[in-house]
Symmetry: C2
Subunit: 329 residues, 2 copies
């Protein structure tokens, strides 16, 4: 059975929602979970949350330190050798766990994963791959913030890794790779995308050309490649725009009785829409390119997102994703 080291202290709703997520996961999948965090605290929380005693698949590994959300990744690595992130990743390195899942400080999870587990040898830079799932048609976008200054070959490697992720985790045959750009024509773009275009065109990947950000949302590609600065800014902008829409409804709800009635009638549909564009449905972004499986869950993750992140970790391990990326030519 696969063993997942789970950062019990990472994220805005830790440890409660993380523990609940672990419980949901062992009920749903055949996995063992090692909760990583302060043992005394976790034992106390567990007692108050649920019937953990029924699930011997869940154990605890003590870690006395916690990396805060705003902390510098480099600093936290130096100063907190017994953090839940570091201890969890050490479990993977020591082969006591097969994968690590955390909703904690993204920069720290990324840096510590790279430092503890190392990079896959033909990959220059690990990348965060985010699954965007609109209308039940998921696609993966990378890099979403790990590498803010990229060379063309990094983007090419992102495309290779994204292709494996799509095949193995999302079950998409021959994934279509698109290069995020300001226009579809091959001569559009900045120095980085122009050079990357040529690399991708001459590769064995299923490269479909440049793709505009608007088109990416219409599932025109399965793997959308961009540098981490663009990816990160875009992802947050999307969250911001969706936020505007829901803020608007909230305001209407408060100020107008008619709007209230309408929104009540629309509630099931809006719920479906939210589900359609919701990160919780996928739950975690894999850090691709490291020598091991790390899944980064959203800082706002609740139990369901954690459960789904654990599922992605399990699939990545079962399908030997890391080995396949390592032996890609």
């Amino acid at each position: 059975m696969i063993t997942i080291a789970l950062d019990a202290m990472g994220g805005d709703h830790a440890p409660e929602e993380i523990l609940k997520g672990a419980l949901e996961a062992v009920k749903a999948f055949p996995v063992k979970i090692i909760l990583v965090g302060p043992e005394t605290l976790l034992k106390k929380k567990i007692a108050s949350i649920g019937d953990f005693f029924k699930y011997p698949q869940i154990t605890i590994k003590n870690a006395t330190q916690i990396v805060e959300m705003g902390e510098s990744p480099a600093q936290s690595f130096k100063k907190k050798p017994d953090s839940s992130i570091r201890v969890g990743l050490n479990l993977v390195k020591a082969k006591k766990a097969d994968a690590f899942v955390s909703a904690g400080n993204t920069g720290a999870v990324m840096a510590t994963s790279t430092l503890v587990l190392g990079r896959i040898k033909n990959i220059d830079r690990p990348a965060i791959a985010t699954v965007i799932n609109i209308h039940k048609k998921p696609f993966v976008m990378l890099d979403m913030g790990s590498n803010v200054d990229c060379k063309p070959k990094f983007l090419y490697q992102f495309a290779v890794m994204g292709t494996f992720f799509c095949k193995l985790i999302l079950g998409i045959d021959n994934p279509r790779v698109g290069l995020l750009n300001i226009g579809e024509e091959p001569d559009k773009g900045n120095a980085l995308t122009l050079a990357t275009y040529d690399l991708l065109k001459n590769s064995s990947l299923n490269f479909i050309g440049n793709i505009e950000s608007k088109e990416a949302l219409c599932n025109k590609a399965d793997v959308v490649v961009c540098d981490g600065f663009v990816g990160n800014v875009l992802l947050k902008f999307g969250e911001g725009v969706i936020g505007l829409v829901f803020d608007f409804f909230k305001k209407e709800w408060k100020t107008s009785v008619i709007a209230k009635i309408a929104l009540l009638l629309l509630a099931p549909a809006l719920k479906r829409f939210k589900k359609d564009v919701d990160y919780e449905e996928i739950g975690g972004a894999p850090l691709l390119g490291i020598n091991g499986v790390t899944i980064i869950a959203h800082g706002k993750s609740r139990a369901k997102a954690i459960k789904n992140a654990i599922k992605i970790a399990q699939q990545a391990v079962e399908t030997n994703m890391v080995e396949k990326i390592a032996y890609a030519e």
Copy 2:
């Protein structure tokens, strides 16, 4: 009275909506408008559209060629010396018009403006500034696609130009300048934003630091500075996300009677929301940094957007925006 050269042949709804926009503009503002395009065609259209004869402020300047939306800017400049874009800008250069407005091929308008009118001497690269107007609190973002590879000093110059635009056209005193970035901390960002941060920090601008894309939507800065690749990708992504929302409602409308009733009740609110996030309310993006006033309207512009673009052109001329940018230290 200020004279605007208006590209009658630019945009998806040309010439009809452009002509209607001209008519609305002269009814609303004290401007003269020179419609630029094939004279015979325009005369015919005018006769069918409205009471143009009552408005001698509207005249026609013949231009026999049209730049198509997909055409290469460089090619169109070489091959179409009598295009409505070129002829319109020649009117500005010859001081027969004070400003040029076009909803046509953005790249061609940009390139032709730069080639015909020239750059302001202390500006390295002209930039497209887009006004984003959420909840009636507009802010300006630039560059939105003119410069896909930027140096820090270009971004600094964008900040200077954006500040003037905010003061003169949007009427904002001491505009807050934010640098679009992946985090708020000064040490966050890519090589470009890190170097730009220092330039802005040591300038006389009202620099408030880095701003995340999500926060930009909450009116935390009046001028948001980014390179043209990021700006363009972001703008289209925002349009795409809003599109998803409205597509969703359209689907619900078709498939559910309850949703139909709810949407009918919500209609006035949704209309307000659309207006709140609508480019038509502003109408045009100025091309800042050239020796003259060019306003680029959205390709989808209808009469109202054209009218509003003309208004921006008029304000830019009246406030001597170009001269003020030219003499900024």
